[in-house]
């Protein structure tokens, strides 16, 4: 918690609330951090997951692919109170992955002939035109996983994996909230999704609160 302060950039794992780390988010809400730059797939829901930061006015900027599930985000954006940078979902995932694996960006033809072109460089490679999409990293990345060992190796569960393995690599500090923490040696190396080298801290989850938010 000491690493996440006013004005910092915070990248979060999850997709439509599922896979957001709820215990970390609730802790940060309690701490009262503000002026955050949030980076992640979507704006969550007004009262679930990452969306709480937005509906409580604690974010100044959001880099995401989708905000439809959180009407507060749309309203703040229209009112000029929240800056929103949209990336196509797959491009956003690759920008985060690029940041996490030490690349400067990615080349893609997604977004050509659309608003996504604005302000971006184009390059020709093998006769084809691509947009240059810059890599994304953040001061702190927060993720949710099913299991971790004390080295920080992570295993995700079913579709709660989503953007988490990408986000886990792209934080200057990465904090994982997990359902179960086991001693080093208790996880089969075959099963690890995120190697512990990317993870700085592991905390015990108090349980998830994202159940079937769309209903």
């Amino acid at each position: 918690m000491n690493y996440i302060n006013d004005g910092c950039s915070l990248m979060f794992g999850g997709f439509g609330g599922v896979g957001n780390p709820p215990t970390l988010i609730n802790g940060l809400i309690e701490k009262g951090v503000k002026d955050l730059t949030l980076i992640g797939n979507d704006a969550g829901f007004p009262t679930i997951g990452i969306g709480k930061f937005i509906s409580q006015g604690r974010a100044k900027k959001l880099i995401a692919s989708h905000i439809g599930s959180n009407p507060v985000a749309g309203q703040l954006m229209v009112d000029g109170l929240l800056e929103v940078e949209f990336s196509p979902q797959g491009t956003l995932a690759e920008r985060i992955r690029a940041g996490g694996v030490g690349l400067g960006g990615v080349l893609t033809d997604i977004g050509l002939d659309s608003m996504m072109e604005e302000g971006k460089q184009k390059v020709q490679v093998d006769g084809k035109t691509f947009l240059i999409e810059s890599a994304l990293r953040a001061d702190v990345a927060i993720v949710y996983a099913k299991k971790a060992d004390e080295f920080g190796n992570l295993i995700y569960e079913t579709s709660a994996r989503n953007t988490n393995p990408l986000v886990a690599m792209a934080g200057n500090i990465t904090i994982a909230e997990v359902e179960e923490i086991v001693p080093v040696g208790n996880l089969d190396p075959h099963d690890i999704h995120t190697p512990g080298i990317f993870v700085d801290y592991v905390i015990q989850s108090k349980g998830v609160d994202w159940k079937w938010a769309w209903e």
């Binding site: 979507d42 989708h66 439809g68 954006m77 196509p88 979902q89 797959g90 659309s114 079913t158």
Partner: protein, 224 residues
């Protein structure tokens, strides 16, 4: 959507007829998500979701939902034999590399050239782009399901899109409450008219020019 349940189901049912055995398919949010309910029983399809699942099965029974397993719209799902989980970058790798046979998306506007606008109405509605740009541009067949006109009665099938584009010249087939229209190199071809509408009514409700063949199939109110 402002559409009756029956109309939504009818559109979904018609869209389901485009899906053949062995296909890889991605369904968007809304009416597209209903399409899976109307597949022929012998049709084995791998449904793909952008959050990172290939091989989505039926909706789980109430009370048996897995709290981590959902589709891209956040609804609880199950998996079929042969399914796999992966991260979102891999999910989009499948899309961009052209492995999806069909994607079925909603639409705000479709143009005569098959351009699609479906992600933003500036200053009014900002759902965000999600995976629509990748799906629209890279799926082998793009089917748009939508109301033929908007709430004000204005045409959504237009000469040129006025809203910001999702992707250019990407749509192959449009299925609405009034008609089924194929995007061809010659233009928009009226294939089927949904009962109780007439060909003239469809033309009237369409801003874009429609090519009307001598015989247009009438789709009965009750689909088989």
């Amino acid at each position: 959507m402002g559409m009756g349940v029956n109309i939504r189901e009818r559109i979904a049912k018609r869209a389901a007829q485009e899906i053949k055995d062995g296909m890889m398919v991605n369904l968007g949010i809304g009416i597209p998500s209903l399409v899976a309910n109307y597949l022929a029983s012998e049709c084995r399809v791998m449904f793909h979701a952008e959050n990172g699942v290939l091989g989505i099965g039926k909706e789980p029974e109430k009370g048996k939902e897995d709290p981590t397993l959902c589709n891209a719209a956040g609804f609880p799902v199950t998996t079929v034999p042969g399914a796999s989980y992966f991260d979102s970058a891999v999910a989009f790798g499948m899309i961009r590399s052209g492995y999806l046979d069909i994607t079925i998306l909603g639409g705000l506007e479709v143009s005569e050239q098959g351009d699609l606008a479906n992600w933003i109405v500036p200053k009014k509605r900002v759902p965000g782009i999600g995976g629509a740009m990748e799906l629209a541009k890279k799926a082998k067949k793009v089917i748009v399901v939508m109301n033929h006109t908007n709430k004000k009665g204005d045409a959504k099938i237009v000469k040129q899109c006025r809203l910001p584009l999702t992707a250019k010249a990407c749509v192959n087939l449009i299925i609405t409450d009034m008609a089924v229209i194929e995007v061809t190199e010659q233009g928009l071809l009226l294939k089927e008219v949904m009962e109780p509408y007439s060909t003239e009514e469809v033309i009237e409700a369409t801003e874009a020019h429609l090519l009307v063949p001598g015989e247009v199939k009438i789709v009965k109110r009750k689909l088989d």
